[in-house]
Structures are given as C-alpha cells and as structure tokens.
C-alpha cells in the first residue's frame, strides 16, 4: 500500500497521443495459484485463432462505439502459462474516466463470454482439465 506525491514525471505507459483523451484504464488478468479451492500449477489456453481474432476485434470496435471511447486494445495469451503470467490485457483510452472504466470492464466480460478460447487447468495433484464454465 502506498500513496505518494511526485514532483517528477509519472512514467505510465498510456496509449496513443490523442490529447483530448484524459483517462486510461487497463486490466491484466493473470494466472492464480488457486481456483475454486484447488491448487493450480499452470494453465493452457487454446484458441480457434481465426474466429477468435474476428470476434475479439468485433468486441473492441463495439466498445469504441458503445462507450464513445478514443481507443481500445486487447491481447489474449495462448499456449501454456506459468503462475503469475498475464492471460489477458485490456487497455482503454477515453476522454473521461467513467467511460474508460466501463468500457474496459465490458471488454473483459465480453471476451470471456464470446471469444472462442478455452482454458485447461493443471492441478497440484497431477490432474488437468478443460474448464466448462457453468457446466
């Protein structure tokens, strides 16, 4: 926990150079060591690449229209991930913070719900399984 006043530039990677955009919100989801009470040791993501790319882009473009934001981008990891590695990164740039927070959250939710990517969890007991949300 920290709070500080900085007399020098705050180095924060923000998107783009649009000077009308005053707010940037980003989200990183990363591999946790536990899921629903089971000890996780690694994750694997597999995507139906072509459709994932189309649907992911559709979500990002829809977010820009829906929330009147300036810019949005999303990266999703595929392959095998170690604990702590980033699975998804979403970044949104907009005029004000309301839309930035709402759009970023919306993109994360929509990507989880719509993009054809699947997750296999590897557990400490040697078992692994493809997750079936709501299944």
């Amino acid at each position: 926990m920290s709070f500080s006043l900085s007399p020098t530039a705050i180095d924060s990677p923000v998107l783009g150079g649009d000077l009308s955009a005053g707010a940037s919100v980003s989200f990183v989801g990363r591999v946790r060591n536990v899921n629903e009470g089971r000890s996780v040791t690694a994750l694997e993501y597999e995507a139906f690449d072509e459709l994932a790319a189309t649907e992911g882009m559709r979500i990002v473009e829809e977010a820009v229209r829906r929330f009147s934001i300036v810019h949005a981008c999303c990266r999703h990891r595929v392959g095998k991930l170690a604990l702590g590695e980033a699975a998804i990164h979403v970044e949104v740039l907009s005029g004000h913070r309301d839309e930035a927070f709402n759009a970023c959250r919306w993109i994360v939710d929509e990507v989880k719900a719509r993009v054809p990517i699947w997750k296999k969890e590897y557990y400490e007991d040697g078992v692994s399984e493809w997750l079936v949300p709501g299944g």
Partner: protein, 80 residues
C-alpha cells in the same frame, strides 16, 4: 453423402485424438453432425452446451450443412 472438414479444439481435440478430420456424413444440420461426432468420439458435452462455427462464422446448430463446409464445434468458451 456430404463431405465436410471438421476441426477440433481443446476437449474435443483431445477426445477425438486429432486436430481435424475430413468427414463424409448424411447429417442434415450441424446439430445432426454433432450428434454423429459425439457418438463416434465420445464427446462429453450435450448438444445444448455446444456452439458451432461454419466457414469461419458463428452458426446456429439448426443450419443445414453443405459439402465443402469448414465446421468447428465450440465447447463453452473460457478465456480471460
């Protein structure tokens, strides 16, 4: 008989033991074809849990299939 290409991902890929297959089928719809594949490969998911893609677009399971179609059945997605 229709000849279609089916690609398998994730749990379907592991159950089928292959990433794709050229399949000859008399199935009318995507739902019919899923029923056939489910029997053949022992897929655990019921038809109601599955979505489909036909020629790189999302497709309703009610859609009729045609020879040459490139088909993917999608387990519930779990990205993020």
């Amino acid at each position: 008989m229709k000849h279609v290409n089916v690609r398998f991902f994730a749990a379907f890929r592991e159950a089928a033991g292959v990433s794709e297959a050229d399949i000859a089928t008399s199935a009318e719809t995507l739902a019919d074809l899923y029923g056939e594949l489910r029997l053949k490969y022992g897929f655990a998911l019921k038809e109601g849990q599955v979505k489909a893609s036909r020629n790189l677009q999302f497709a309703s399971l009610e859609e009729t299939i045609q020879s040459g179609d490139r088909i993917v059945f999608l387990p519930p997605v779990a990205g993020g």
